[in-house]
Symmetry: C2
Subunit: 132 residues, 2 copies
DNA sequence: TTGCTCCTCACGTCACGTGAGGTGGC
DNA sequence: TTGCTCCTCACGTCACGTGAGGTGGC
């Protein structure tokens, strides 16, 4: 196990404060790969990406404890099933969109933009997320 | 204009406290259709549904000021375009889903479930939202 | 010694309300 | 008068950090 990072290196590389790394560690969102005999945390460099992922998820509106719960989640959920269901529901929405009042239309658009952000974030995760 | 409601009727019908109706009114999220000469607010009964919509949007993670901004938004956004884009991006995600690690898979599933909630909410809006 | 780290306790900020109390309409 | 309403100022709670300060490792 080479190249483990101390907190300030990690913070710098991830673009957050040391305090935030400390905070996330205490929440259990990230864990040091090991500790020195003196108790210094030593992080796997992949944690840099993991922090990036956490920030993305936060920006998508997930609370830290939800993110934490997901990282701890046991089995692989059925992503394919939910994606299929999503596709179907979008078809429903598409037809509805053609005959709706403007106020609802505007609100719905906002929701769909948010949904789109989530989908983009999920895609980026599948492409880039380290399996820490 | 018949059947205007006072604050306690509205609160009761919408299932929120009078204080909350007051709060939303002050934020401009809802408006009384008129006021009595003494200043009592009189709300359109459709406001009951509107409050329901607001609660749904809140539950979907929208902040009140965003909801407010959307109600105030001018033009009809291009819902059809964003829905189409969403559909395309879901196709991308579907193919990715077949070859992803479990950690990313689990996170992505969570995001998709949230996206699905947004889509369901948007659909319900298009079906039910009063154009207040 | 110097600068780094850990830990803990407290504080800061923001969103979303809620309480209370004085005021006037009904 | 009674109960309703308005308004305002303050407080409560929770999430997400951040500050500061004492401690020990490097």
């Amino acid at each position: 196990v080479a190249n483990l990072m101390r907190i300030s290196e990690l913070a710098q590389a991830a673009g957050v404060s040391k305090r935030t790394v400390d905070f996330y560690t205490n929440l259990g969102l990230i864990q040091p790969a090991q500790r020195t005999t003196g108790g210094y945390r030593l992080y796997n460099p992949l944690t840099v990406e993991l922090i990036g992922t956490i920030r993305q998820l936060e920006a998508s509106g997930m609370a830290l404890d939800e993110i934490s719960a997901q990282f701890a989640a046991a089995g692989p959920a059925d992503l394919a099933a939910i994606v299929t269901r999503l596709g179907n529901d979008i078809e429903t929405l598409r037809t509805l969109a053609e005959t709706s009042g403007t106020a609802a239309h505007t609100m719905a658009t906002t929701l769909m933009i948010r949904a789109h952000h989530l989908i983009v974030t999920a895609t980026e995760l599948l492409i880039a997320m380290p399996d820490v």
